[in-house]
């Protein structure tokens, strides 16, 4: 077996030093009646070529985003990733290292985490950020728990534009940890008034996604002001981090905690994971923040260096009194994010955001010219909602048969809301070409032909 270096002779010599007659002797603590006699009922070992063939066969049954006109978003986005990103994250020293418990020999990881935290704080307009979370949705769930701790209240108000999966994650965590949730109706273009009127003196936080999951834009400032007036916090959620290159930052609009899905920078679609959750907040709340945090310090010789810090918040020190049970972050995905963003820089990010917006505007204009198709979200960044004449899921399926992956039918995310089943959410990015837009337009026109 190519991954196992010991030879038969090695094993014998090692058993002799141990003083065991056979390998089975080392497993004698396993009660005999539950010890496996034979091998598991699975195939035997296979060579690299064989494994590649087996897995490639499965991969070939899927339609990759790059192989056709592609407009699917809703929390994960198809972007172009510079080749150097994937090259660098596959450096053994990054790929095959562990959590930086021994900082003297993990300065590479720690310094990029420090850079990552700074980039996230700048992007979101916040003062501090952690070293990443599993993904945007779990970051959102943790943010709500953090708001409960800070305000000593336990009711979260979720705006209707929060991604339904994020809503479900918050509801699941809240339900089983004894907290309350008020989730508002998922209606496109619902204004701030509805959110504001749901805030009361029991409310710990208001969770608002921007752009919302229909693609619509919201000024968070009045919501923040209303929340603060009642002693509640504003949690801003971002699922398309590129939007921060074109839109006001949540920090500028008064958010107290910002969580985001960072996949769009540096990370591929990967059928939903691994991704990277961003988590940023105000400095005064840092000791209530979940997750790993990297900080600057000096070594015994006075040189600048970095360590994991404020670990008295964490489970390995505080056990049942920790701020979270989280142990792993998303280190390698955070590295991909930070490299991609370092390559882009501010100028590149802004340009990229402009391109995304222009693609989406071009697409929205082209599709809403088709009879019966209506653009539901007048203001948007790179994703918008269309009302189509008919069942959205069926139309998306028929478009797929014509070689266009046309977006996400709201029916997939809100199966219990038939009133929303004529809506589809459509995304465009810098990879969307004019030809892609033309292909979508003609395929949709054909599908809708009576």
């Amino acid at each position: 077996m190519r991954y196992l270096p010991l030879s038969g002779a090695d094993r014998q010599a090692m058993l002799a030093r141990i003083g065991a007659a056979s390998i089975d002797e080392l497993f004698e603590d396993i009660p005999e009646n539950v010890r496996m006699g034979g091998l598991p009922n699975l195939p035997l070992h296979a060579g690299e070529l064989d494994v590649e063939r087996q897995l490639s066969k499965l991969a070939s049954k899927n339609l990759p985003a790059s192989s056709l006109p592609f407009f699917v978003g809703c929390g994960a986005y198809k972007h172009h990733i510079p080749a150097s990103v994937d090259h660098l994250i596959q450096r053994s020293e990054f790929l095959t290292s562990y959590t930086p418990y021994q900082p003297e020999i993990a300065q590479g990881t720690l310094q990029y985490l420090f850079e990552f935290q700074t980039q996230v704080a700048l992007l979101t307009g916040m003062e501090v950020a952690n070293a990443s979370m599993y993904d945007g949705s779990t970051a959102c769930g943790e943010a709500v728990l953090m708001a409960h701790r800070i305000t000593r209240r336990s009711k979260a108000v979720l705006a209707g534009g929060l991604h339904p999966h994020y809503r479900a994650v918050v509801e699941t965590l809240s339900l089983h940890s004894g907290h309350g949730v008020t989730a508002l109706e998922p209606i496109p273009n619902s204004g701030s008034d509805e959110i504001i009127s749901a805030i009361d003196d029991e409310t710990s936080c208001v969770v608002v996604q921007m752009p919302d999951y229909f693609g619509g834009l919201h000024d968070l400032a009045p919501i923040a002001a209303a929340a603060h007036e009642r002693g509640a916090l504003l949690i801003a959620v971002i699922t398309e981090v590129i939007s921060l290159g074109a839109l006001k930052s949540p920090g500028d609009m008064g958010a107290d905690i910002v969580v985001a899905e960072g996949q769009s920078l540096g990370n591929g679609l990967n059928f939903g994971g691994p991704y990277v959750g961003l988590f940023a907040t105000r400095a005064k709340f840092v000791r209530q923040m979940p997750g790993r945090i990297c900080g600057e310090t000096v070594d015994a010789a006075g040189r600048r260096g970095y360590v994991l810090t404020l670990s008295t918040r964490e489970q390995h020190i505080r056990r049942e009194r920790a701020t979270s049970n989280i142990c792993t972050n998303s280190g390698l995905c955070a590295l991909a994010f930070t490299i991609h963003l370092s390559l882009l820089g501010e100028a590149g990010l802004r340009r990229l955001a402009e391109l995304n917006h222009a693609s989406a505007v071009g697409l929205a204009d082209a599709l809403s010219e088709i009879g019966g198709v209506e653009l539901v979200t007048p203001e948007f960044f790179n994703e918008f909602t269309l009302r189509v004449p008919g069942d959205g899921a069926e139309i998306i399926e028929r478009l797929a048969k014509k070689g266009v992956l046309g977006g996400v039918p709201v029916a997939r995310l809100e199966p219990d809301r038939p009133d929303l089943h004529d809506l589809v959410i459509v995304a465009a990015t810098e990879v969307t070409s004019k030809a892609d837009i033309a292909a979508y337009r003609s395929a949709l026109a054909e599908v809708l032909k009576p």
Binding site: H45, P82, Q111, D219
Partner: protein, 518 residues
């Protein structure tokens, strides 16, 4: 022109060989991107955006962000230099107990990057991702066969997330039966994530002490059980590297008390192909794919923590989960669609760490049934070989007994030397080794937990053993200074962690903290 002298700090720091630059041969000092980059610079060439009327309304960004950019060669060099300040499994033995730093095959990376896996969207039509769902079904089949369990939740993002998944299912099962139970039993040797997870769900934690040999006795469990107990969370093999001998009786006692048995599967890698959790009476267990099935840890993640369940808990498994619909596979993504089940909810957006599923599947197919059992045997053999080779110079908290995949030492052998576990670990760094896990588990004084994994050759183990013997003897011989000053040969000497926590500097800032305070 006067000759430039190395700065005072550099002279003091670099011992006999000060340098002018602060660089040390191949170890090059590297500033932060914020100190070298420029917001106007970019390493990505993008076309001009076509002229369109903005639909951003009043929310368009006007304020600058302050993000530096680097040209591509600068970026490559920056991250290359950073990479060279890291230890890695590809460089040498990485004996972090409980963390399982084993070889990460590059074939797995190649497979995860096939466009058919890496470039598919979680919400594209199911008809266009049947191969991805096939892979998830294949992983399910392998995990359930290896564990002897009835089903699996694939979505948890890491081990602790898996704990949350399993424990929430247990809570849902009790709720479903109308039972109010408020306590979870956790042995003192448990990972910190176990009590933290129980507390997150509102449970109180009752600690069970280990007996003299480091394991949990069925008597201790019985004494702690009662009608208020919802579950026990037990790691097996435990964090002392020992198989819990009473586990079958413990499971029986737990079930007799109407509670459930959660197994922390962090150490499953010791027993794959040797015994099956399902046969031990376990109700649910998370599997750290990034440990047992070798998906790379990447400096602290991403992980992946699928949870296997017994028949009793299957109804409560969270969405999404796989089902078959004629010739098609589908994902059940909403609670309303889960016929005959009572899923406890959703733990994350989308379907889990697909990239890790592919890597783990490549690992499992490569090893096969025979290779996985051999891997467990070699991991256990390697740990015992280290134990047998160091037992005369180091000390074990529970006496010299056969261990599983990791061996636990304590600091008894350092008594009177002035050298602490931390000093000992730092001296290993100067010798070119990553230290073992230190000060965990808490049941051993000054714990040193060594997990070599099956990836090490005998020659590599012998070299490691030789270094530890030399260091143990040096400590006993009174060479305290070597340990107190260590590490001297790493990119940094010992870092001031107290200062980092007391005066937190958590990001770069254009303004010096002192000025900012004014």
């Amino acid at each position: 022109m006067t000759r430039k002298e190395p700065s005072a700090a550099t002279r003091q720091n670099e011992g006999a060989n000060p340098t002018y630059s602060g660089n040390r041969g191949l170890l090059i000092e590297e500033p932060l991107i914020f100190e070298v980059g420029d917001p106007a610079a970019s390493g990505v060439d993008l076309p001009d955006a076509p002229e369109t009327a903005s639909r951003l309304g009043t929310l368009a960004r006007r304020a600058p962000i302050g993000l530096p950019g680097l040209a591509e060669p600068q970026a490559l060099r920056h991250y290359m230099r950073l990479s060279q300040k890291n230890y890695a499994i590809d460089l040498g033995l990485y004996p972090l107990g409980s963390c399982t730093m084993k070889h990460n095959p590059r074939a797995n990376e190649k497979m995860a990057r096939l466009p058919g896996f890496g470039d598919i969207h979680p919400l594209q039509p199911e008809s266009t991702v049947q191969g991805a769902l096939d892979l998830m079904a294949l992983l399910t089949a392998w995990l359930t066969e290896l564990t002897g369990m009835a089903g699996v939740a694939l979505s948890p993002k890491a081990g602790a997330h898996g704990e949350l998944c399993g424990m929430t299912a247990i809570k849902a099962a009790h709720d479903d039966k109308g039972e109010q139970r408020s306590v979870v039993l956790v042995p003192e040797s448990a990972h910190g994530t176990n009590p933290a997870t129980a507390a997150l769900l509102g449970y109180g934690v009752r600690t069970i002490e280990a007996r003299g040999d480091g394991t949990v006795s069925v008597e201790a469990v019985k004494a702690a059980l009662g009608p208020d107990v919802a579950a026990i969370m037990l790691t097996n093999p435990n964090t002392c590297g020992l198989f819990e001998r009473d586990i079958v009786e413990i499971a029986q006692a737990v079930h007799d008390a109407g509670a459930y048995f959660y197994c922390d599967g962090a150490n499953f890698n010791a027993i794959v192909g040797k015994t099956r959790p399902g046969d031990l009476g376990i109700d649910c267990m998370h599997i750290n794919l990034h440990k047992t099935f070798s998906t790379p840890h990447g400096g602290g993640g991403p992980g992946s923590g699928p949870v296997v369940f017994s028949e009793a808990l299957i109804p409560y498994v969270p969405i999404p989960y796989l089902m078959r619909d004629g010739a098609m596979r589908r994902l059940v993504e909403s609670e309303g669609a889960a016929e005959g089940r009572k899923p406890f909810g959703r733990l994350t957006a989308f379907h889990g760490q697909m990239g890790m599923f592919v890597r783990a599947m490549a690992y499992m197919l490569s090893h096969g049934a025979d290779g996985m059992r051999q891997a467990s045997e070699d991991a256990v053999l390697n740990a015992n070989y280290i134990r047998a080779s160091l037992r005369d110079v180091m000390s074990q908290p529970f006496g010299d007994q056969t261990c599983m995949h990791e061996v636990l030492f304590d600091d008894h052998f350092l008594e009177g030397t002035g050298v602490t576990t931390l000093d000992f670990a730092k001296a290993m760094i100067d010798e070119g080794f990553h230290p073992m896990t230190v000060y965990f588990p808490l049941v051993a004084h000054g714990a040193m937990l060594i997990e070599p994994t099956e990836s090490e050759s005998k020659a590599s183990l012998d070299q490691f053993i030789g270094v530890l013997r030399d260091l143990a003897e040096a400590a006993k011989a009174g060479d305290e200074d070597r340990f107190k000053r260590a590490p001297q040969l790493a990119p940094r000497q010992r870092l001031d962690e107290t200062r980092a926590a007391r005066q937190p500097v958590l990001r770069w800032s254009a303004v010096e903290p002192a000025e900012a305070a004014e």
